[in-house]
Symmetry: C2
Subunit: 425 residues, 2 copies
């Protein structure tokens, strides 16, 4: 094998015929494989299913004089606020417990910013001529969609190896219509980048023109190492406080990829002023979130230290899968010289960059061969990747055997789309 760029047309045509044959034989297998979403596997879920046995009788339902089965405690059980404060390295009074979904908490923050404004807003965002929102890309499609849903103009910010490009961000926030930014600061979705200390420091020291600029700090993978030890991470809330803009950041986390996806507990952490402001707003829609599930989780996960032990179980299932992805890409694609990808040590994704203007076609071919992937472009605002090259690989859900098959087919389709492009087919 040699780089496609160094091949003659005749060699490319020969390669094309071989790859088409591979593709047709894959298709003939009529497989149904899915690498579309960052879903935990059955083995991972089984490994944490002891959670179901925690809090199993009425005797266990009183905690500090609160009956967890009844209404009340809108901001969450004290022990649950303490749990998240331990995990996120902030203070319990800076934590608000949500329901099962941190995405829903983020949505509610943006929705309320739109209808009523944030604690530092001079008016609701719906009353602004334009609201612009910064979207480091590749990024998480569901984030971008929330701000698009409320009519914000999405501005793409490029990623670097240290996180979003801070030089560009520091310029953009001088525009008072720029109201916020989406961040996945640890094992960014999909690049798997850990923001550098320097990047985080510059975030905390941002001086945006908008008084209600919101850093949406989605710490979705805060304890989600699958390769190597836990990487300590600075607390953005105290850094923003130290820099004089304590109300600028909203941090989010959940146990969706610690316990059960969709049946976990979520949290928002921010300045006490913001938590008080939102507790008042949330009181209009909620009496209290699920405290039985909060206690179940606190009893099961205990604290950060014990949570990290549980994350080792997940790692034992995840690492072999990421290794397969790395190995197959190394063998099949690397020698061809037209693509590059990351090798993350945590999170749920591999961010794969193929030959420009071939990602959409490659995923069309994948679909034809029975492999479902996140749609091409999904990692960019409005679902449009200007280079049409980024593909998010989510290897967690399939079994090892399925994953091997899916990755082989994926590589075939990547090659085929590239060859079609090079040959003008």
């Amino acid at each position: 094998m040699s780089k496609y760029a160094e091949k003659t047309v005749a060699e490319l045509e020969q390669e094309y015929r071989a790859v088409v044959a591979e593709f047709e034989s894959s298709k003939a297998k009529n497989l149904k494989l899915n690498m579309a979403r960052g879903k935990p596997s059955k083995q991972q879920l089984d490994a944490v299913s002891d959670l179901l046995e925690v809090v199993a009788s009425s005797d266990e339902c009183d905690i500090d004089g609160v009956d967890i089965r009844n209404y009340g405690e809108l901001s969450g059980l004290n022990c649950a606020r303490e749990y998240w404060a331990d995990v996120l390295d902030c203070k319990p009074q800076q934590v608000f417990l949500g329901g099962t979904s941190s995405l829903n908490l983020m949505f509610d923050v943006i929705s309320r910013a739109y209808s009523h404004g944030l604690s530092c807003s001079t008016r609701p965002w719906s009353q602004e001529d334009t609201v612009k929102f910064l979207c480091p890309s590749p990024g998480y499609d569901r984030h971008f969609l929330v701000t698009e849903f409320f009519g914000a103009e999405l501005i793409t910010v490029p990623m670097t190896d240290n996180g979003p490009d801070m030089n560009i961000i520091e310029e953009l926030v001088k525009d008072p219509q720029v109201k916020g930014i989406w961040c996945v600061p640890k094992y960014s979705n999909p690049d798997g980048i850990i923001y550098s200390d320097e990047t985080i420091r510059r975030f905390a020291n941002l001086k945006p023109a908008a008084p209600d600029f919101a850093i949406m700090w989605d710490n979705a993978y805060c304890v989600h190492e699958f390769d190597g030890e836990y990487v300590p991470f600075p607390d953005i809330i105290s850094l923003c406080e130290a820099a004089g803009r304590p109300d600028m950041v909203y941090e989010f986390a959940s146990t969706s990829k610690i316990t059960f996806a969709g049946s976990g507990i979520s949290a928002m952490a921010s300045s006490e002023k913001n938590i008080a402001y939102f507790t008042k707003l949330f009181a209009v829609q909620m009496i209290s979130h699920d405290k039985v599930n909060q206690l179940r989780h606190v009893r099961y996960l205990q604290n950060k230290e014990h949570t990290l032990k549980i994350m080792k179980k997940h790692a034992s299932y995840l690492k072999p899968k990421f290794d397969i992805v790395a190995k197959i890409l190394e063998q099949e694609i690397k020698p061809l010289g037209f693509a590059h990808w990351n090798q993350p040590k945590g999170g749920y994704f591999v961010s794969f960059n193929t030959m420009p203007h071939t990602a959409g076609r490659a995923l069309e071919l994948c679909k034809e061969a029975g492999v479902v992937m996140t749609p091409a472009g999904a990692t960019f605002p409005y679902g449009k990747d200007p280079q049409d090259c980024n593909i998010r690989i989510a290897p967690s859900f399939p079994t090892v055997d399925e994953l091997k098959q899916a990755m082989e087919i994926f590589c075939t389709c990547i090659k085929l789309a590239a060859l079609e492009k090079l040959l003008g087919i």
Copy 2:
């Protein structure tokens, strides 16, 4: 004892001195009693705590090929949709499962009507000059607050013994700015009225000028009889469909007062068109609600018939409490001739109407004597009862002994406030 209206001033003054003495002796006891909110009691919660043991191992987590611990099934597990369809007498495909709170579902409907419009809207409600919302009163403060939160003008509609005054409603809906109405159709909060068949028929046959008029049909007490047998109730969704406005009604229910308050499951039921519309909107904020809790509830509650058996347990705790309220009011207040109240057979409240312009003062006195009640006025839009006479009594939470004490003090305060008024003190 005789009616206050028939007493001489001297007799009233004598009564006043006696009641003040009663009040002072109550106050000296330094009690802390709470009749403010419709919270289930510890005994009720204990009676349904077997719920905690249902779905206790990973073997039980697969239902019809869906792993309840993973992401997916945004509109809810099929078995959960079937459960609610059975309870509400509608079709499973007309049901969307929410999280723990039906209030949050109602909030989301109004919030999305405001930001994006309903399925039949010509524009979002935020783009309308005025949005008016009908509030049958006395009613539920949290309902009124949701529409107030989004800037709607709240219009009070009087209640009759058969439900809201339909003559008035049929006139009001001719105004295209009138966008909806809040209803608690069975055991209305707080009056405990079951809307008559005639009222329900007229609701279904409303022809509002607004194409996106929304009947917010909060069937919070759909199976909540505590005195006598289950009262069958017409399905508003099929009635609206038959009347030619299938998308006009949004029905809500939850298990907050069937299993655990705040850790139950909730549902919205509406036309399939509305459910499809909202499933698309909800996909922006949620991946899926808590399916473990959905299955836990379906396994525990089984169906409507079995749910009604469980409601008999609640009734065994609730009826004695409502009997105490009725008995003490009968003894202490009835002979005085200035107040009236309902005697519901279901729901969570007694709606008490005291001498006009004395409710606020009476509750101030209650607070002074250590009895916390729902604030006076709460049952009316903007928290303002024009007659200052309606008080919502919530007897479910205190123990029988606490309730007796609280009701004695309540009666003393009611009398004292009335005497102050009559004597111009």
